[in-house]
C-alpha cells in the first residue's frame, strides 16, 4: 500500500489548522477557541477509536462486535432524538427506527455475501448506515415540527371534518419522509460526478483498483437508500401520533 501518513507528516499538516486560526483571528470570528477544542477533540476521539478498533478487530469476537454495533445505534438514536425538539418519546422512536433500518440492511448485506461478519467490515458499515439513518430521521423530525406548526389550521380542519389521525396528518408524514430521504437520493444521483464519496475515495487512496472500488460504492448507495427509507418511514409513522392527545386532539 502507498499510504504515507506518519506522525511527522501529521505535524507538518497541522499547519493547516493555523490557516483556520489565522482567518478566525483576522476576521474576528470569535471562534478560535472552538477551532482549538474541535481539533483537540478530533485527535483524542480518533486516537481512542483507533486503538479500540485495533483491539476489537484482533479479538474478533461476535458478541463484542454486536455490542459495539448496538452502542453505535444507541448513539445515533440519542443524537437523532435531540433534533426532535419536544416530540414525545423521541428516543424510543429513534432507537426503534435506527435499530430496524440498520439491522435489516446489515442482514441483507451479510446474507447476500456483500460483507462478511467480521468486525473490520461490520463496524464501519454499521457506523455508515446508522449515521445516515440518524441524519435522515433528524430531518424528518425537523420537517414534522415545522409542518405541524405551519399547517396547524389545515390539520384542525381535517380533524373537525372527522378525519382519523392518519388522514389528518398524511400530507405532513409523506413530506417528512421525503425530506428525510432526499439527501440520500440526491447524492445517489450525483455520486461520481460531483463527489467521490468517502468509501470509494478511501479504497482508491489505499491503492485499490478504481473499477473494484466503485463496486463498494454501489453497495453503499444501495444500503444507504434502504437505511434512510426504513428509518424515515418508521420514525415518521410513530412520530406524527405524538402530536395528538388521547382524545385525538391536536396538541
Amino acid at each position: 500500500m502507498n499510504l504515507a501518513t506518519s506522525n511527522t507528516t501529521l505535524i507538518f499538516a497541522a499547519l493547516l489548522v493555523f490557516v483556520a486560526l489565522y482567518i478566525g483571528y483576522r476576521e474576528k470570528l470569535g471562534m478560535n477557541k472552538d477551532i482549538l477544542i474541535g481539533v483537540v477533540r478530533a485527535i483524542i476521539q480518533l486516537v481512542v477509536v483507533g486503538y479500540l478498533l485495533k483491539y476489537v478487530f484482533r479479538v474478533n469476537n461476535v458478541w463484542l462486535t454486536l455490542i459495539l454495533i448496538l452502542i453505535i445505534i444507541f448513539n445515533a438514536a440519542y443524537n437523532a432524538s435531540k433534533r426532535a425538539a419536544g416530540i414525545r418519546h423521541a428516543l424510543p422512536i429513534s432507537l426503534l427506527a435506527i435499530l430496524a433500518s440498520t439491522g435489516l440492511t446489515l442482514v441483507v448485506l451479510v446474507f447476500s455475501g456483500s460483507i462478511r461478519f467480521v468486525p473490520s467490515q461490520m463496524i464501519p458499515i454499521s457506523g455508515m448506515i446508522a449515521s445516515n439513518s440518524m441524519v435522515a430521521i433528524g430531518l424528518c423530525y425537523r420537517n414534522m415540527n415545522s409542518s405541524f406548526r405551519d399547517r396547524r389550521q389545515q390539520v384542525l380542519e381535517r380533524l373537525a371534518l372527522g378525519a382519523d389521525l392518519r388522514l389528518a396528518s398524511i400530507d405532513i408524514v409523506r413530506e417528512s419522509i421525503r425530506t428525510g430521504m432526499a439527501p440520500t437520493i440526491d447524492s445517489a444521483k450525483t455520486v461520481g460526478i460531483v463527489s467521490l464519496p468517502g468509501m470509494m475515495s478511501g479504497l482508491i487512496f489505499a491503492g485499490v483498483d478504481p473499477v473494484h472500488a466503485i463496486k463498494y460504492q454501489i453497495l453503499v448507495t444501495f444500503m444507504l437508500l434502504s437505511a434512510t427509507s426504513i428509518g424515515s418511514v418508521i420514525a415518521c409513522y410513530l412520530a406524527y401520533q405524538q402530536f395528538y392527545n388521547e382524545q385525538k386532539q391536536l396538541l
Binding site: 389550521q153 380542519e157 380533524l159 373537525a160 371534518l161 372527522g162 378525519a163 388522514l167 382524545q247 385525538k248
Partner: protein, 215 residues
C-alpha cells in the same frame, strides 16, 4: 329531544379564563345563533362542542351521553365544525369534496359532489377548478360543502359568512336553512348577521367568556 347539553362548561388556558359557567340545552333541529364581541370565547366554545378541545370544567353531553365516551373521530362526523376562515385542501375543488368520502372510506361520488356544488349556486364544472382561482365567496361555499356532503346531526358554524357580500351570504344562508328544515340538522352558528339571527329560534350572547342572554 335534547341533543346537546352543556353544563357549567368552563375553559382555562395559560392562566386565562376563556369561558366560564356556560349552560346551554340544544334540542334536535334547533337553530341557535351565538354573538358576542371579538375574543369573548365563541370559537373556543364551538371547538369544545366539536371535540377539538376538552373543557377544563363542567359537562358536555351528546344524545344523553358524556362526550368523552364517544370515539372522537366518529363524534366529529356527527357534530361537524366549519371553522372560521377555512383553508382549502389540495389543488382543486374536487380535492376538497373528495375528502369527506375519503375519511369514510367511500368511493368518490361525483354526481353527489356536483349536486352539492349546484346547491350553493356553483357551476357543476367547478369540480376541476383550481382552488387558487376561486373568489372569496366561492371558497367559503366550497369549504362548507365539506361539512354538508354527509349531513351531520349538529353543524357548528363559525362566522362562515363574515366578509361576504349579500348575495353570497344569502346563498349560504339558504342552504343552511334547508339543511336545518329538510335534513333535521341542528345548527349552532356564530354570526353577526342580523338576517340570520332573525331566522334562528334562539340567540345566545357571550361576553368575556360568560353567557349573557338566553332567550
Amino acid at each position: 329531544m335534547v341533543l346537546l347539553e352543556l353544563e357549567n362548561i368552563g375553559y382555562q388556558i395559560a392562566g386565562q379564563t376563556v369561558l366560564q359557567q356556560i349552560n346551554l340545552q340544544v334540542a334536535t333541529q334547533d337553530y341557535i345563533t351565538i354573538t358576542g364581541p371579538s375574543g369573548s370565547g365563541k370559537s373556543t366554545l364551538l371547538r369544545i362542542i366539536a371535540g377539538l378541545l376538552t373543557r377544563t370544567s363542567g359537562q358536555l353531553l351528546f344524545a344523553g351521553k358524556e362526550w368523552a365516551d364517544y370515539d372522537p373521530i366518529l363524534y366529529r362526523r356527527q357534530v361537524s365544525y366549519a371553522v372560521q376562515q377555512p383553508q382549502l385542501f389540495g389543488t382543486t375543488v374536487a380535492d376538497n369534496l373528495r375528502f369527506p368520502f375519503q375519511i369514510r372510506q367511500q368511493a368518490f361520488d361525483s354526481a353527489q359532489a356536483t349536486a352539492a356544488l349546484t346547491s350553493v349556486n356553483l357551476p357543476a364544472d367547478y369540480l376541476n377548478k383550481p382552488v387558487n382561482d376561486l373568489s372569496g365567496g366561492e371558497r367559503q361555499r366550497v369549504a362548507i360543502l365539506r361539512n354538508l356532503l354527509f349531513p351531520p346531526q349538529v353543524l357548528l358554524l363559525d362566522e362562515i359568512s363574515t366578509g361576504l357580500d349579500d348575495e353570497n351570504k344569502q346563498i349560504l344562508h339558504r342552504e343552511i336553512r334547508r339543511m336545518n328544515q329538510e335534513k333535521n340538522v341542528t345548527i349552532l352558528a356564530v354570526t353577526h348577521d342580523n338576517t340570520e339571527i332573525k331566522d334562528a329560534n334562539r340567540l345566545v350572547k357571550i361576553v368575556a367568556g360568560k353567557m349573557e342572554v338566553d332567550q
